[in-house]
């Protein structure tokens, strides 16, 4: 199949050897398994998407309520409910192969072994462009510590995952750390081909009437426009600390938002929460980026990456 005509060549970007038709990627957990959007947008126009976190075995997820809206964002504690890596390979991938978009398999586990097991299952799948290691999900900490918040644990897992992975490895960073540069360096030294950031910030909302947390799990991950300034700052910090391509994530809802991340140092961006309240937002952002290239007479968006001018 040839969809080339759909694409604006000025928007093409490459991450770890993978060519994305444009830098706009659906964020994990907000894009289902991609197919849910087939009715809403032209998946062939989409740069790519990251699947809901896939684990070796299907997961039940947390009891409800799982989400609550806050000012400028939302808290979620889904708990990684997912069909499992095997079902994804067998039931979803065949349907996804019909589309010209990059499928990133977002991988999750409770232990290093879980991650490796999931990767091994996914290695059999055809049509996966890369893996995104979700070591930063705040809603499933086992034994109190989130792997992604410890450089040592994160590097160890990255090394194992890299060895097991038959495809480029993107590691997704947690923003809930004191120094994200240190974390990034450790993960890149351990072999990550690319970093995506940020995952959600841990938050809590209390129902004053019941005096209970609004989420059954207690705490949840904060996402949406509210966290954008924190995400842009972290992308900028990490861009100066490592030399692998970055995927910027956090509150993006427009082409202007996407450009902030690219200028700050991101090669591509992921759109999460905005897909919920504006299901066609990815298409709007892609068009917006083309318009921007028109205005500035730019022949390649890559010339904008990390172009921030400091005073």
């Amino acid at each position: 199949m040839n969809f080339a005509l759909n694409h604006d060549p000025r928007l093409a970007v490459e991450i770890a050897g993978i060519r994305f038709n444009n830098p706009v990627i659906g964020a994990s957990g907000t894009f289902g398994y991609g197919l849910e959007f087939a009715e809403l947008i032209d998946l062939n126009r989409l740069g790519g998407f990251s699947t809901k976190g896939l684990s070796a075995r299907p997961l039940a997820g947390n009891p409800p309520p799982r989400i609550v809206e806050t000012h400028g964002g939302m808290l979620n504690a889904i708990g990684l409910q997912n069909i499992g890596a095997r079902a994804f390979v067998e039931d979803k991938l065949p349907l996804l192969r019909r589309y010209d978009t990059r499928v990133i398999a977002n991988v999750f586990g409770y232990s290093d072994e879980d991650y490796i097991e999931a990767i091994n299952i996914l290695n059999d799948g055809e049509g996966i462009a890369a893996y995104e290691l979700n070591i930063s999900c705040p809603n499933v900490k086992e034994g109190g510590i989130v792997i992604g918040n410890s450089s040592v644990a994160a590097a160890r897992l990255t090394e194992k995952a890299k060895r097991a992975a038959a495809r480029p490895l993107i590691v997704k960073l947690s923003p809930n750390v004191t120094d994200i540069r240190e974390l990034a360096r450790a993960i890149v030294s351990a072999g990550a081909d690319s970093l995506s950031l940020i995952n959600t910030l841990v938050g809590m909302s209390v129902d004053v009437n019941t005096r209970q947390p609004r989420l059954n799990y207690g705490t949840g991950g904060l996402s949406g426009p509210a966290i954008k300034p924190i995400a842009v700052r972290m992308v900028h910090e990490v861009a100066s600390a490592v030399n692998v391509p970055l995927i910027g994530i956090g509150g993006i809802a427009s082409a202007m938002d996407a450009l902030e991340f690219i200028i700050a140092g991101a090669t591509a961006i992921q759109i999460g929460t905005a897909n919920y309240y504006d299901p066609t937002v990815t298409m709007k952002v892609i068009s917006g980026l083309s318009d921007y290239c028109d205005c500035c007479g730019m022949d390649n968006i890559t010339s904008l990456i990390g172009s921030l001018i400091k005073s």
Binding site: G29, T30, F31, G32, E36, F37, E39, L40, K52, R57, P58, L59, A60, G61, P63, P64, P65, R66, I67, V68, E69, H71, G72, G73, M74, N76, I78, Q81, N82, I83, G84, D207, N209, T210, Q212, R214, G224, P225, T273, N275, Y276, Y277, D278, P279, T280
Partner: protein
């Protein structure tokens, strides 16, 4: 499923805190009784997420209406809309009321849950199925706000209850339902209302083993199945595992009452 921007025909207040929103769509929107839409005042910065509203009525292929209660920020934003105002809409969503294999029907509406069953009543009437309606509200004002006049206009047997007795029978709507079934009537129950009401309806249905369908609510992030935030706990053979939670938006919003684990409330309230 259509993603579009609809135009407000009218947004009339039926009673303080309750409004009837009529929207015009550019294209035809085929909806079945019980389906819903995700709506948001166009270009509103806050709140971000759209809100779920059952389709109350189809006035024509391109004109649909919604009945809503002003709860918080989202419905407040909708309440400010005037004729000509714009509304972002994703529609139609969710499954619909199954009426095929029901001989005789009972419809139970609690508060604003009424919004999800008016079209059902119309369909049942059209299909010529014997139908008894139980309509509960906290007061006469709320009953009016929840569309009482439209239900009366159906000319179906209708029992009204109010918590304060300001209209009809004083008390909860499940009381007359229970008496009705005790009389030995066999019918399929269709219920929509507050969680506690539906929980009780489910108990009653089990007691009289009457088939029972309920339309559930949950806070919704997307409305089309991708956030997995709107789940309810369902009964499964084994221990908790994948399949223990179903999405209200795409697996529902209508579920057989006996598959729901009513002790696990999807809402904080």
């Amino acid at each position: 499923m259509i993603e579009t921007i609809a135009t407000v025909e009218s947004n009339r207040e039926l009673a303080t805190g309750y409004r009837h929103l009529i929207l015009n769509f550019d294209e035809e929107v085929p909806v079945r009784a019980g389906q819903f839409a995700m709506l948001k005042a166009h270009a509103a910065y806050e709140p971000l997420l759209r809100r779920a509203f059952a389709v109350y009525r189809a006035h024509g292929p391109r004109q649909l209406s919604f009945l809503y209660q002003v709860m918080g920020r989202g419905t407040e934003a909708l309440s400010y809309l005037d004729r000509g105002g714009k509304v972002e809409a994703l529609i139609p969503l969710g499954n619909s009321w199954p009426i095929e294999n029901c001989e005789r029907a009972i419809v139970v509406a609690g508060g604003i849950g009424s919004a999800s069953v008016l079209m059902l009543c119309e369909e049942l009437a059209r299909a010529g199925k014997e139908t008894q309606v139980f309509f509960g509200a906290s007061s006469e004002r709320v009953a009016v706000g929840c569309g009482l006049e439209d239900f009366r206009a159906l000319n179906l047997p209708l029992v009204v209850t109010t918590d304060d007795g300001s209209l009809g029978e004083r008390g909860v709507v499940t009381a007359p339902l229970e008496r009705y079934l005790r009389e030995g009537v066999r019918a399929t129950i269709h219920a929509c209302g507050p969680w506690v009401m539906m929980k009780r309806v489910a108990e009653i249905a089990r007691e009289f083993d009457a088939p029972c369908f309920t339309s559930l609510e949950a806070p919704m992030g997307c409305g089309f199945g991708v956030c997995v935030g709107c789940v309810v706990a369902v009964k499964t053979a084994g221990p908790i595992g994948y399949g223990s939670y179903k999405r209200v938006c795409t697996d529902g919003s209508i579920f057989p009452a006996d598959v729901i684990r009513w002790e696990v409330n999807a809402m904080t309230l």
